[in-house]
């Protein structure tokens, strides 16, 4: 079992599973900075490091939800600051499309967050994680999605 259930066991009460896809140069470094500056934030997020937000395929996000994520966070360099000059502009386009699609499908947008966090914005990172965690904690586990697999096909209901 993954840590979150276990964690819920320890802290008592429910602990949301949150997956973060971040770029290597800005947000990951920003998260590191939060560490080196000994800031503190909620322990629920699990980071997956990618070179650039431009590498992030919407399927990652879908897969994260399929794997029981209660919330997903995507973050990278501010527009104009991309280490690869334009990667995050491409990302922004895709997100605009994808966000509307998810919204239209009825995914609760409080479970899917997009953000720009630069290498120096440790504080922003901390606030972001805390806010996202608290918000999702309020919402509770993403049962609608987790439940999907075991729901019987309609014909056999």
């Amino acid at each position: 079992m993954s840590g979150h259930e276990e964690q819920s066991g320890t802290t008592g009460g429910y602990e949301p599973k949150i997956m973060a896809f971040v770029c290597n140069w800005c947000t990951y470094a920003g998260a590191d900075l939060a560490g080196t500056s000994r800031m503190e934030y909620r322990p629920n997020v699990r980071i997956i490091k990618l070179p650039c937000t431009g590498r992030i395929d919407p399927l990652f996000i879908i897969k994260a939800f399929e794997n029981g994520a209660d919330g997903v966070l995507v973050s990278g360099c501010h527009p104009g600051d991309c280490h690869y000059t334009t990667g995050n502009y491409h990302a922004r386009r895709r997100w605009i499309g994808f966000k509307h699609l998810m919204e239209f499908t009825g995914i609760d947008m409080r479970r899917l967050h997009f953000s720009w966090v630069s290498a120096s914005e440790a504080i922003k990172w901390v606030d972001l994680i805390n806010n996202v965690t608290d918000e999702i904690k309020k919402l509770g586990p993403f049962m609608e999605y987790r439940g999907l697999k075991d729901a019987p096909p309609q014909a056999a209901e």
């Binding site: 079992m1 993954s2 794997n67 096909p153 309609q154 014909a155 056999a156 209901e157």
Partner: protein, 336 residues
Amino acid sequence: MKEKILRRSDIGRLIDSVGTKGGAFVAPALVARQVVFKAIKSADEVSFDYILARNSYKEFVFPQTEVVADFTFTGNKVDLRGREVEARDTVVFGARPCEATSLSALRAVFTWDFVDEFYTKREDTLVVMTVGCTKADEACFCTTVELSPESKSGSDIYLRETETGDYTVEALTDRGKAFVELHAGCFEEGDAKLKPLVRPEVIKGIDLGKIQSRLAQRENYADPVWGELTRKCIGCGACTYVCPTCHCFDITDEGTAFEAERRKNWDSCQYESFTLHASGHNPRDFQFKRWRNRFMCKFTYYPNKFSSKGCVGCGRCVRVCPVRLDITEAMEELSK
């Protein structure tokens, strides 16, 4: 003489009776503007105005996806636990004589060398209540494949509509008789004026014998006619998924790094990747070859291997095809 009759008004009671005895009642019902076989709870869900349900009831003996095993990873060992299929008594109401015959074809496949309990256990507890057709459309061609609204093979109970919309009941198999016994309260004796059956015209120019022998000849395998006949096929699996005799499946594992399940999923010979080899080579590299495979599966391989019917002439594949590729047009062509 008096006949056993199932009043339309009694179907509700029959459903309840089946339900109370822990059984599932499958009947044609309207879902998203289509009549489909569906497990139902009450009589008002049942729809009586249809030719054939869009889907075959095979999915109640051979579900589109089912878990056959679970496994979990601990240390370096994998712990795999097979699933037991718990078959629930199921009655299918309103099947058509054509599709009823498909069960023998399916059983043949699922039992000829390895007995697939996921199928057999379900089929053993299945009661098929066939209703003779009082309607047909241009896609129906049971008569062309030597079946008819009277065909009774595969049915456990054979029903015929009466003028009053009730049904005369003829229990054919032990399972059928037992069922009627079990739910005796829902049936009654009486006279009935039968609605005439409607039999589709035999399509002239189609000669199964000719087709058989033609397919038997190796050289015809490479006959360019295949290409011309099926050029328009776009290779979706719709025909195979609605076909009552198609039975191909694929075993796939789904899960996380911690645990997973092994699933048995429908597959279709129409897919490009169906026979794709690991090497990248595909013996059925063109769509017409895939279509030829399905055709021969119906008219050579299975008849020869199991002497079972490959095609029951229900016409579902014709109705569902996005490009209106009509198997009978191919049969006609190949009868020349």
